[in-house]
């Protein structure tokens, strides 16, 4: 019985320690992001990796999400004879909820996992130790450009997701199912207000920060993983955990931001 409590206590302490470490890591990285010198070429390079290279997957996910919304929305609204509201239903769902969340989940899968694996491998092969020994702050040199790039890229990708999704809904609703094009856009213009856009922007900014924070922190503290973070298996296990943790955290924060801003 004592052993059970011992194990629970041990596990709780480990989790608390890890949470504290990640919190301090966020503070350290935030400080590095805010203080000069700013490494613009490195930020652009990271924006290319996190942002530009995600456009393809964001485009397709956005298009098909909008098309499904158009299809489902049309048949649901048709039951009440309100097909004309399809534009506002698609736009509001995308701008307030699905755009930020699905774009963030796509970025986690594509860039978040890569960031965690990259930093984890650098930790395993002593490259991060080497930076510290050269008196180069790894948070400034490695993390700060990734943080800035993610915080800027995720909202931009969300905009793309929203716009492509709205046109996807238009394609299905107007071109395939015969909703009036004017009604589709007029419904959207009259129902979407600045507060909806604001919510989408706030969510995507927060999600960008959460993704880069969790992905890079898990990689950075790979060597402190209890189950052993070393070797290829350790990197793969930690990357999987980072993806799961980032996805769940994004969904939790999605609810919290919605509850606060509604």
């Amino acid at each position: 019985m004592v052993k059970v409590f011992e194990k629970i206590g041990d596990h709780t302490l480990y989790r608390l320690e890890m949470a504290g470490r990640m919190g301090l890591f966020l503070l350290r990285c935030t400080r590095c992001v805010l203080l000069p010198p700013y490494k613009i070429p490195a930020v652009l390079q990271q924006m290319h990796f996190i942002g530009s290279r995600s456009i393809f997957v964001i485009f397709f996910t956005g298009a098909f999400t909008g098309m499904v919304l158009g299809l489902q929305g049309y048949y649901t609204l048709a039951k009440f004879g309100s097909e004309g509201l399809l534009g506002s239903a698609v736009a509001l769902s995308l701008i307030r909820e699905l755009g930020p969340v699905l774009a963030a989940l796509m970025v986690i899968g594509r860039a978040g996992s890569a960031i965690c694996a990259e930093i984890g491998i650098m930790r395993n092969s002593e490259q991060i130790d080497a930076l510290e020994c050269m008196a180069i702050d790894p948070c400034k040199y490695l993390m700060a450009p990734k943080f800035i790039a993610a915080i800027l890229s995720v909202p931009l990708l969300t905009f793309i997701f929203d716009v492509v999704g709205i046109w996807g809904g238009w394609l299905v609703g107007v071109k395939l199912l015969g909703v009036n094009s004017g009604a589709y856009f007029q419904g959207m213009y009259s129902s979407v207000v600045w507060q909806d856009v604001e919510m989408g922007v706030v969510k995507s900014l927060v999600f960008g920060l959460l993704i880069v924070w969790i992905s890079s922190a898990r990689g950075f503290f790979l060597h402190l993983e209890r189950e052993g973070g070393f070797g290829a298996e350790g990197v793969s296990r930690t990357t999987t955990r980072a993806v799961v943790m980032a996805s769940v955290t994004v969904l939790i924060w999605d609810y919290l931001i919605s509850a606060i801003m509604m």
Partner: protein
């Protein structure tokens, strides 16, 4: 950091001093009270069986790990009592050759060696190019500037690592198992480069190695870590003849019982 700041660091007789350093990982006490002095301008080799904590000692000296008890003094400064800025200023005097060289895979050889100069000095690209070319020349690496670490052999990677470690003219250079994974020829090449660069640059060297007895030829002091403690730090000659049972056991295990006397093991030399 400016040259003025760098010169302000006074080197006492002992460049690095560990006093009663204790380190526990989980439930395992790896270091149980390490007392060790690294003398300035000399070469100290730390030997010991695998898993005894040799690299952990090195990481304490570099300020990468903090001791649970005891203190680590570098150039007279207690690493636990200085802030990040002071620690970075001290690290400007360090060069490290990691076990696997720890080169940045995404960068070329040139960029790897140039990185400390670009990040930590105000030198122009022209000055950086001159220094990097000089260091690569010293390591016989001309023509490899545009290669990536993955395109290099193990020996070449170590040489690039050594070039990077020496690029800021460090006062202390740490070598973590510099010849592990290299054949005898490549090992000798690394030792030759170490010998030549130390003669030229006059740095203090701390080497963690398994390469006994070859490494003794290059060392001024040899320290054995066993049972979580330094069993002795002395000249290689004294080390090989030490009465300490753990040192004696280590010497015999790694070099064979060639130092036992005829009296202790009668008939041994007749059969060899």
């Amino acid at each position: 950091m400016t040259n003025g700041e760098k010169q302000a660091v006074q080197e006492p007789e002992a460049a690095i001093e560990l006093e009663g350093v204790v380190k526990v990982f989980g439930r395992q006490e790896v270091l149980k009270g390490i007392d060790l002095k690294i003398m300035a301008g000399k070469t100290t080799v730390i030997v010991g069986a695998s898993g005894q904590g040799k690299s952990v000692i090195l990481k304490h000296m570099l300020g990468l790990i903090r001791p649970d008890r005891g203190r680590v003094m570098v150039f007279g400064k207690d690493l636990a009592k200085i802030d990040k800025r002071e620690l970075n200023a001290l690290r400007m005097n360090f060069g490290v050759l990691f076990q696997n060289a720890a080169l940045f895979d995404s960068m070329t050889v040139y960029d790897n060696v140039a990185l400390p100069l670009r990040e930590r000095t105000d030198k122009s690209e022209k000055e950086i190019a001159d220094i990097v070319e000089g260091r690569l020349g010293l390591m016989d690496l001309q023509g490899s500037e545009d290669k990536h670490p993955a395109q290099l052999s193990g020996g070449m990677r170590k040489r690039v690592g050594l070039a990077r470690a020496l690029v800021l003219d460090p006062k202390v250079v740490f070598f973590d198992e510099p010849t592990t994974g290299l054949d005898a020829h490549k090992s000798n090449e690394i030792y030759r480069l170490f010998f030549e660069t130390q003669k030229q640059l006059g740095y203090t060297a701390v080497i963690v190695s398994h390469d006994v007895p070859k490494i003794f030829k290059l060392s001024d002091y040899v320290a054995l870590i066993a049972d979580g403690k330094i069993q002795g730090c002395m000249s290689p000659e004294k080390f090989q003849l030490s009465d300490n049972p753990l040192i004696r056991e280590y010497v015999e295990t790694t070099m064979g019982p060639i130092y036992s006397s005829e009296k202790e093991e009668p008939g041994l030399y007749e059969t060899v």
